[in-house]
């Protein structure tokens, strides 16, 4: 379960999130909609421990964002965040080494279904192909939360 309690985030003098209270149970697909600069990405980053709250707290399965929460969260940002010097196979190995719930067989199956060459370096791929690789990596984990 994801819980936000009186969550606030301020950048310089601008208050982006103002007392957010939220409870999400597992097994749901949630859409987060809002205007530009309404705090959608900020909320996601707070949940993923990429930012720290100004006040309030985020709890994932009762825990603050940290090592244990990152094991159960799979995050897909809008930008390419992989090391371009690695091949697809090396990237899959990287994920399987750090995430216990990463399924390499599923990843290779999905990559094959999407016609992606596992021996190709990420720097040689188009933006769309890299996004597919990232999506495969995220979907090959068995997390409680996917963002």
């Amino acid at each position: 379960m994801l819980e936000c309690k009186n969550l606030c985030k301020q950048f310089d003098n601008k208050l982006i999130l103002d007392n957010i209270n939220l409870k999400l149970e597992k097994g749901k697909i949630i859409g987060l909609l809002g205007k530009n600069v309404s705090g959608k990405s900020t909320l996601i980053k707070l949940i993923n421990d990429l930012l720290t709250p100004t006040s309030g707290k985020v709890l994932i399965n009762g825990l603050k964002p940290g090592v244990e929460s990152k094991k159960v969260i799979s995050y897909l940002p809008e930008r390419t965040y992989l090391d371009n010097e690695l091949t697809v196979k090396e990237t899959v190995n990287y994920f399987s080494e750090f995430y216990d719930n990463f399924n390499s067989e599923k990843a290779y199956q999905l990559l094959n279904d999407l016609d992606l060459d596992i021996n190709q370096r990420l720097s040689k791929m188009s933006k769309g192909m890299k996004e597919k690789v990232q999506l495969v990596l995220v979907m090959s984990r068995m997390p409680n939360f996917i963002y």
């Binding site: 993923n48 421990d49 990429l50 940290g66 090592v67 244990e68 990152k70 094991k71 969260i73 995050y75 940002p77 930008r79 390419t80 965040y81 992989l82 090391d83 010097e85 990287y94 080494e97 750090f98 995430y99």
Partner: protein
């Protein structure tokens, strides 16, 4: 987990630096070879040239190892790759420790290679 992260950091840094190490050793051995061929002006010049190239390779190794350690740190902590680094199930101190250790290990190996190359080039009995 620190070992795993350190492995990837060192692999990234050494990818380029190892080539410079090998070139330094090659030219150091070449210099030694020219030194062993005595009584010739040509080989004396070639020896000095090889020593010069060895020294420049060593300086390049030193600069590269520092630069690559720094670039790895900035890319993993502040640039786009930080979205991956900071969402790995690792403590922050583990991430920073890996960056520091990889830089220290690289500097140490650069110094060892430098000492070996200088010994090969300049040691006389």
């Amino acid at each position: 987990m620190l070992n795993k992260l350190l492995k990837y950091d060192l692999k990234w840094i050494y990818k380029v630096v190892i080539v410079l190490y090998l070139l330094s050793l090659f030219f150091a051995l070449l210099a030694r070879l020219f030194l062993s061929i005595n009584n010739s002006m040509l080989f004396s010049i070639l020896y000095q040239l090889s020593c010069g190239i060895t020294i420049s390779m060593l300086v390049s190794s030193l600069i590269n190892s520092l630069m690559r350690s720094w670039v790895r740190f900035v890319k993993n902590i502040y640039k786009c790759e930080s979205y991956l680094t900071h969402t790995l199930p690792l403590e922050k101190k583990t991430i920073y420790a890996s960056k520091a250790l990889s830089a220290i290990v690289c500097m140490f190996t650069t110094i060892v290679v430098a000492v070996i190359c200088i010994f090969i080039c300049y040691y006389y009995k």
